[in-house]
């Protein structure tokens, strides 16, 4: 007989399930302004605690406080609010298109708008993002044509990707938005490679990788961190911790008791953990990490703490695995409301402007949608001929033969 007790198998569970009251008592939220702002050339060892705490600028009264509030440009904040409003309006409209049967699929980023919009504002033209499917804000913060973006979702005759890609998997080199892949985590290491190339060529451009909390469990997350650690390329590695990977809470990714930001410390590069619903903090932290990369001080990991308000996708029903009211109980609130209140308190914005801006973007997106629909919906208008192009630079004989057999 063994002198040991039988071993127990541990499977993490979220604190609350459907039917329970939401409970975020385990989420530790430091006071706004309480976290220091180290110089951009700091070593990982000199700023360890920033991987565990949370950089926050906006306090509960909507005031910008602390060292990360310094040097924020009012125009960028106003533009940030506008872009977030635009992203939310876009998401709502595309969701409707899916419900109308005009597209097969959509994914919203509700509640996470500040992160992509704020980060994009800190980048320069020529820098490259390696986004996931939930960073539409990166593209919607640029002058990428809205009609083209919707045409991709409709897979129609004007789809820039010729109907080959699932809706929302955009691509635009010109706008610093790398082609989205359905395979999770792959782009995180590619971002590191892009940044290595920029350093090899003595360029001044930087790359940004993007990943969700769930996908940090993928092998390529480690690949990205170890290569970033070894070669110190100009890359910012963004983890968007929205607490949920479809139905799995962050604990299933190993993120229940250690922060995702702390992952960087073992790789000897610094991490920031940031309130992802605080646009001012997002922009300031992004600026810091982008500046650090561009000055050649190497990579930064940023954990953006936020909450996935919307269903995972149009094929998902969160009421099956989490409390219905959980998103409204999320202690970091709504990024649009928080920035709006801040700007109103400083007389830089008003309820009227808010209403007017929402209406303007609704009109813009409605008009763009109408135009996009004129090129076809749900794959109509995409040409079977386009199916065979661009597998290779030149079409090899076997593909030519297959195309001829299809008669196109």
């Amino acid at each position: 007989m063994s002198e040991y007790k039988p071993l127990k198998f541990h499977v993490p569970e979220p604190p609350r399930r459907p039917g329970d009251e939401p409970d975020f008592s385990g989420v530790v939220i430091p006071e706004a302004g309480s976290v220091r702002r180290p110089p951009v050339d700091s070593s990982a060892a000199d700023m360890k605690e920033l991987a565990s705490t949370m950089v926050r600028v906006l306090n509960k009264d909507g005031e910008a406080v602390g060292p990360w509030a310094e040097g924020l440009d009012d125009d960028i904040l106003i533009q940030g609010l506008k872009n977030m409003i635009r992203v939310r309006a876009y998401d709502e409209r595309m969701m409707t298109l899916q419900r109308q049967g005009k597209t097969s699929f959509y994914m919203k980023c509700t509640g996470e708008e500040a992160i992509a919009v704020g980060f994009r504002a800190a980048m320069e033209k020529g820098d490259m993002n390696f986004p996931t499917y939930r960073q539409q804000g990166l593209l919607l913060s640029t002058d990428y044509p809205l009609v083209d973006m919707i045409c991709q979702i409709l897979s129609n005759s004007r789809d820039p990707l010729k109907g080959r890609q699932l809706p929302i998997m955009y691509s635009s080199k010109e706008h610093g938005f790398f082609s989205i892949s359905g395979n999770l985590g792959t782009q995180f290491i590619q971002a590191v490679g892009w940044a290595m190339a920029s350093a090899i060529k003595g360029d001044t451009k930087i790359a940004a990788g993007w990943i969700g909390d769930g996908s940090t469990a993928e092998t390529d997350f480690h690949a990205a961190l170890v290569n970033a650690s070894v070669y110190k390329p100009p890359v910012v590695l963004n983890i968007v911790n929205n607490q949920w990977a479809i139905s799995s809470f962050r604990g299933i990714a190993g993120g229940d008791h250690a922060t995702f930001g702390e992952r960087a410390l073992g790789y000897d590069f610094p991490a920031l953990r940031v309130d992802g619903n605080d646009f001012l903090a997002v922009y300031a932290a992004s600026k810091w990490a982008v500046e650090r990369a561009r000055r050649g001080f190497g990579p930064t990991l940023i954990e953006w703490v936020t909450y996935r308000v919307a269903p995972h996708s149009t094929s998902d029903d969160p009421s099956q695995y989490r409390p219905k009211e959980e998103s409204s109980a999320w202690p970091l609130g709504d990024p649009i409301l928080r920035l709006k209140n801040h700007l109103i308190s400083r007389d830089l914005w008003s309820e009227e402007r808010q209403t007017q801006t929402e209406a303007e973007y609704n009109d813009e997106i409605r008009a763009a949608t109408k135009e996009a629909e004129s090129y076809g919906v749900m794959g109509s208008g995409a040409s079977p001929k386009d199916m065979f192009d661009d597998v290779y630079e030149e079409m090899p004989p076997h593909l030519r033969e297959q195309r001829q057999k299809l008669g196109v």
């Binding site: 792959t186 290491i189 290569n227």
Partner: protein, 338 residues
């Protein structure tokens, strides 16, 4: 003309391209200072600097993943996976990313990368230093698969691969690195300096991707093969006296169907020969192509001579490896068939 081993020819190809194009970078495990476990990158770091030739962490997914990122930036990585047996951790990056990038982005982004990897058995490499995983890549739309059998082709095909704007998996039969090998493991090994295909021109030249070569002309039977098996086929031809036409495919994807069809229509018989395991191996594709295109010219069923459907064993190396005796037996049986 200089005499080169396959190792020297491969190194020379990278040297030529790095000299011509600042955007070519070379990296992988032990590739930099040490010059590679097979010496294929010997001296390149000293010549071009560690920002263009460097060691990587032991992280195959990272090697290929970073290369895809570099390709998206606009440079041209030629990377190494130390053994083809260790390419699997990078399979997701190759299949899901490199192969599809041009297609899924409507050529907004491309992956002009070359993945060099030593493959094949006959060296007592056991299970994880002997594999021939080419069919796992020929099955993937969007990558090209190349496998040279001699120094001349190795240099020309590698230069062509580095210049190609599509991702290329470049398999190097390590058994052929120092000399040709016909499967007679009991005889002294020869080296490339005594072989005409060890004559390798200096400087730049290419062997086109997608073109097979008729290694040895014949009229009785066509042998479709590549890599080490080219020399095994030649030995079996000599030993049986059967006048086989040996086709060295050189590129598996895209496949040179015209050369294959022309030969089989002439000979009326076809053997496909490879080291890789038989079931769903590349030979199955070759066999189907011949059956579809040469059906009325065939005087016998297409025969496959391949590695057995087992992991590559250690002690049973020469029972597993399809040597000249096995190939000869199968050739004779084919000729005796009506």
């Amino acid at each position: 003309m200089p005499q080169m081993s396959m190792i020297e020819a491969i190194r020379d190809a990278m040297d030529v391209k790095m000299g011509q194009d600042d955007d070519v970078v070379v990296y992988g495990e032990d590739v930099g200072y040490f010059g590679g476990v097979f010496r294929c990158t010997h001296g390149l770091q000293k010549k071009y600097g560690s920002h263009r030739v460097f060691d990587s962490p032991i992280n195959e997914s990272g090697i290929v993943g970073t290369a895809i990122g570099m390709g998206a930036y606009g440079i041209r990585p030629c990377i190494e996976i130390q053994f083809a047996d260790y390419i699997y951790p990078a399979y997701d990056q190759i299949v899901s990313e490199a192969a599809r990038l041009r297609y899924r982005s409507n050529k907004d982004f491309t992956a002009p990368i070359t993945i060099r990897t030593p493959c094949g058995g006959g060296i007592f490499g056991g299970q994880t230093h002997s594999q021939s995983p080419e069919s796992l890549f020929t099955h993937v739309s969007g990558v090209k698969t190349v496998i040279p059998s001699n120094p001349y082709d190795a240099k020309g095909l590698l230069i062509a691969s580095i210049e190609d704007n599509d991702p290329v998996i470049f398999f190097e039969p390590k058994r052929l690195y120092n000399g040709p090998f016909d499967g007679h493991h009991d005889r002294p090994a020869s080296n490339w300096s005594k072989h005409p295909l060890g004559d390798v021109p200096e400087g730049h030249y290419t062997v086109p991707i997608g073109k097979a070569s008729v290694f040895s002309e014949g009229k009785d039977v066509t042998i479709l093969t590549y890599g080490t098996m080219v020399f095994v086929a030649e030995a079996a031809k000599k030993e049986t006296g059967i006048d086989a036409e040996i086709i060295d495919l050189r590129t598996l994807m895209p496949l040179d169907v015209d050369t294959i069809v022309e030969s089989v229509k002439k000979t009326g018989r076809c053997m496909v020969l490879h080291e890789a395991t038989q079931t769903s191996g590349f030979g199955a594709e070759l066999s189907a192509q011949v059956q579809e295109r040469c059906f009325y010219h065939l005087e016998a069923p297409v025969v496959r001579v391949c590695g057995f459907d087992t992991p590559y064993p250690h002690a049973q190396e020469w029972d597993y490896f399809p040597g000249p005796a096995r190939v000869g037996r199968e050739l004779k049986a084919m000729m005796e068939a009506v």
